[in-house]
Amino acid sequence: MNAKAINKISSTTVPLNIENVDTDQIIPARFLKATSRDGFGENLFRDWRYDSNNQPKKDFVLNDPTYKGKILVAAKNFGCGSSREHAAWAIKDAGFDVVVSSFFADIFKNNSLNNFLLPVTVSEAFLEKVFTAIEKDPSTQITVSLQDQTITLDATGDREQFEINDYKKTCLLNGYDDIDFLLSIRGDIEKFETTLA
């Protein structure tokens, strides 16, 4: 299996129950000066995580050792705002493989998929259930199966299906990316160009 491929992820979670989290919060613009894709995890949620003296803010969830894991659980309209893919890189770099929310901004969703960070869209009701479960028990474990397109609260067996298009699913399961596919049809693209007057 390709190193990037994802399928089943079972993990505890980090809950971030704030709506409309925009990409400027996920990674502020002043950290976009790098010319490589690495190291953005350090500045994930920078201004929520650290105060102006660069001291960790105790009440922010990423600084709370109670919560850790590969699954970030977020509230509605996550990832709105800028197209900066750095947001997806930062989340992935910080060790997450999955983001759960009831609603994702479009560009963020694409950027995540292109970086093998799985955005799982659940119903509002299910999301609420997840937040409640984590609140009650921070060690709540969740299992996401891409193959079955399911997300499950391990303790209770509460489960929901999620949507993903077949093409993207195959890519993620096999570690392929879109460029591989597009390159494979370059002949078609060149032929198409001749039809554009």
Binding site: N20, C80, S82, S83, D178
Partner: protein, 465 residues
Amino acid sequence: MAKTLFEKIWDRHVVKTIDGGPSVLYIDKHFIHEVTSPQAFKGLEKRGLPVFRPRQIVATADHNVPTVDQHLPIKEELSRIQVQQLLDNCKKNGIELYGLGHPYQGIVHVIGPELGITQPGMTMVCGDSHTSTHGAFGAIAFGIGTSEVEMVMATQCLLQSKPKLMRINVDGKLNKGVVSKDIILYIIAQISASGATGYFVEYAGSAIRDLSMEARMTICNMSIEMGARGGMIAPDETTFAYIKGRQFAPAGIAWDQALAKWKQLYSDKDAHFDKEIHIDAATIEPMITYGTNPGMGMSVSGHIPAENEIDEKEKPSYLKSLAYMGLEAGSAIKGHPVDYVFIGSCTNSRIEDLRMVASFVKGRKKADNVQVWIVPGSKQVEKQAIEEGIDKVFEEAGFHLRQPGCSACLGMNEDKIPAGKYCISTSNRNFEGRQGPNARTLLASPLTAAVAAITGEVADVREYL
């Protein structure tokens, strides 16, 4: 079959559709800038691939550039490296670059239209969410991430699922003191910051038709602030007149041929939209935002919603937002002091915006408590402003006309609003920290920004006209 404007352009650009998956969409024009392209060039290099169609790419340096002393080397090291890398990458790959010092340099979404690169019927992308600006010409234009930038560089194509379509009709006449920025802030306040997620929006109606091209760009620019993939307006005589004669516009026979095609670009009478909204232009007042997303907007003379007007579930986010802004639920915003006025960004930094501000402030002086930064969208806008004597008007008013770039729109260079300070900004985002850590942004039109510069507080421009 009846088709929408979007569908006419989309269908023409689909190379093929994958079963159960997205379509392969051909991209006519690709804009790049220094911040979201370096990793894409690196990715290509790693795969050993050349840039497929370098002549369909145009590059500029905007996000990270200083807005004073642009003739000097960039002081900040990381920014300098990023801009240098763009230069190297463009040179190596044969890509046209309008970098610092070039007479065409400017914010990517300002220069595309003003150079006549942006044309009706095109598919256009850029690693920047406000690419939707170009939709004002009747193009499908949208922002993409860096992996997608790499895809377009490698194959001139993207994999895209067809979005749902929404039409927003604005009919009637605008009131005095109300401009296109108010229209779009009003729309976003009505449908929320996520109200158009999953949709591509077409703006229509008599009030939209009456707008100039620059005013239309302001509207399409902010489509992304309600979650839309993009926004567009069918091209008409206003569009054609704007494009004609520009640097890269078709000329001669090519112009006639292009024009014949462009005239077909409108939504057919019975075309289907997944959602349709109607707005009466006369109900729109000068708008301002009070919160930390562009959907939190209201009339400058109105009141911030009281706590009991907010949905129980949304209360925590709402109160967090007001706490950040240092504003009280239920209070008025008119009369609130401001510290900075920023007139710039791809939303409102074109020549008409500067003219609008200049005509208001002419003969007036800025208030002592405010700093006013005016950042033209491009070298050409700057030049024109100087030719028209607008720079002098600003100088007399006590404003500072800087050099082109994104500047305090995203606070990536040194143009940051200090923590806790209030800035009335003509840009498009009021997110926490957008203009600098803990900066407080109030989004408004150039006119509302201008009146704040003179009075030193949030004011209703209608009382000064």
